[in-house]
Amino acid sequence: MNEKKKVIYVDDEEINVMLFEINFSVNFEVYTALNGIEGLELLDKHPDVKVVISDMKMPEMSGLEFVTKAKEKYPEKKFYILTGFEITKEIKNALKSGLIHKYFRKPFNMLEIEKAINEH
């Protein structure tokens, strides 16, 4: 049996998390967190997750701060940012340095994200 690919999604907005779970659970195994700290815990709990998608603007720890910390511990995983902001200097730098693989804009494009998860 073909096992579903696993993905972690971090967003402080509960509705976004709920919708992501509903939509992506059809084809993937989805784990979600409402902030960066929970996200890091999820990464420790599920070492076989290859793809991590995070919102940018969250309280306490921004998306990029979370990704930076996570990448230190799990450099082999692929990280993505999903944000409602236009691309910023920070995000550009993160793309250049390879910290994040790609940046997705909200409202999200299902096909684009599914394709990205399936690449790994």
Binding site: E13, I15, N16, M18, L19, F20, I22, N23, V26, K57, M58, P59, E60, M61, S62, E65, T83, G84, F85, E86, R105, K106, P107, F108, M110
Partner: protein, 340 residues
């Protein structure tokens, strides 16, 4: 030498020379002419001679003096004309400087507006993209359900998808409504203004500026705070004050918004734990064009506009600040008199 004035000296000199002439010439005539008739004839000639000489002398003397005077008068006249021209030119220069300053002022006011607009658009874009994301999520889920019956075993998920769409639409529409209020062009002061709503709207517009390590806490009075005023201008007031609070925090800090419903007035206290303002600068922060930002980074008009709007509302604004500790801004408005 100028002990005596010129006219005294000249008179004395004239008397002396004239007297000397009469005495000396008489003496000479007496010696030279013995005949009485000839003597009186010569004395007449001598008199004519004297009158003639003094007349010539006076003519040149007066002429010289008058010329000096005329020259001076002419010079004075020329000087006057020159001065008038100079004054006129200077006035024109000043007028053009004043005109230029007025134009600059208008431009600066415009750039202040544009700067706020920049913050605003970035914030609004993000705030609208988020509820659009809800709508997109529910659309995708519902489409999938419609095509493949994906969630038929789970009607709760279908309900959640529909619910999310409604929340997305409500939230977008609230943002658009807030925007309309902020950009209102009305200049009247009789709108019903809900202070809590205005504070919430301003926070929404500034949401994109609130970095992860800034905590905003609200301590709102239980009762609604309603005042009469200009709803768009009051949005500007709190947009500016909250914007300053956010910008004052360099890396991490807290912003507290407390509102109080007092007997005769409403009080809004906004406290930040940012960099604070020095005592010296505190006196100047509402001065137009006062800014500590680098040239081109701030117009120095934000608080000046804020101050003016509050005064137009017969309100009051006070600042307390300590460098390195933070700033507290207290805004007070009188409550409208109720007719019951």
């Amino acid at each position: 030498m100028k002990l005596h004035r010129f006219e005294y000296r000249i008179t004395v000199l004239y008397l002396l020379i004239g007297g000397f002439w009469i005495l000396a010439s008489d003496k000479l005539l007496y010696i030279l002419i013995k005949d009485g008739n000839t003597l009186s004839q010569f004395q007449t000639y001598k008199g004519w001679f004297y009158v003639l000489i003094t007349a010539v002398f006076l003519f040149f003397f007066i002429k010289k003096h008058l010329n000096k005077r005329r020259k001076l008068e002419n010079e004075l006249k020329e000087f006057q004309v020159h001065l008038e021209k100079k004054v006129k030119r200077r006035t024109e220069e000043l007028e053009s400087v004043i005109k230029q300053q007025k134009e600059t002022q208008v431009q600066l006011l415009h750039s202040e507006k544009m700067a706020s607009l920049g913050i605003l658009t970035a914030g609004v874009a993000h705030e609208i993209n988020n509820p659009l994301n809800f709508i997109m999520g529910s659309y995708i889920g519902l489409l999938r359900h419609y095509q493949d019956n994906s969630f038929s075993d789970n009607p709760e998920q279908v309900r959640q998808l529909i619910e999310a769409m409604k929340i997305g639409i409500d939230r977008s529409s609230a943002i658009v409504q807030g925007l309309n209020q902020l950009s209102g062009e009305s200049d009247t002061y009789d709108d019903q203004c809900d202070i809590h709503e205005i504070l919430e709207n301003s926070l929404t517009m500034l949401n994109s500026q609130i970095r992860p390590h800034i905590t905003v806490s609200k301590d709102f009075s239980a009762s609604e705070l309603l005042i009469k005023g200009n709803v768009a201008h009051l949005h500007q007031v709190f947009f500016n004050i909250l914007g300053n609070a956010i910008h004052s925090i360099e890396s991490e800090g807290d912003i507290t918004i407390k509102t109080e419903d007092k007997k005769s007035h409403v009080l809004i206290v906004i406290t930040d734990t940012g960099v604070g303002i020095s005592k010296e600068n505190l006196k100047k922060i509402t001065d137009p064009f006062f800014t500590t930002k680098a040239p081109g980074k701030g117009t120095g008009l934000g608080l000046s506009i804020t101050y003016n709007i509050i005064k137009e509302h017969n309100g009051n604004i006070e600042f307390e600040s300590q460098e390195g500790k933070g700033t507290t801004v207290s805004v007070m408005f009188e409550k409208p008199v109720k007719y019951e």
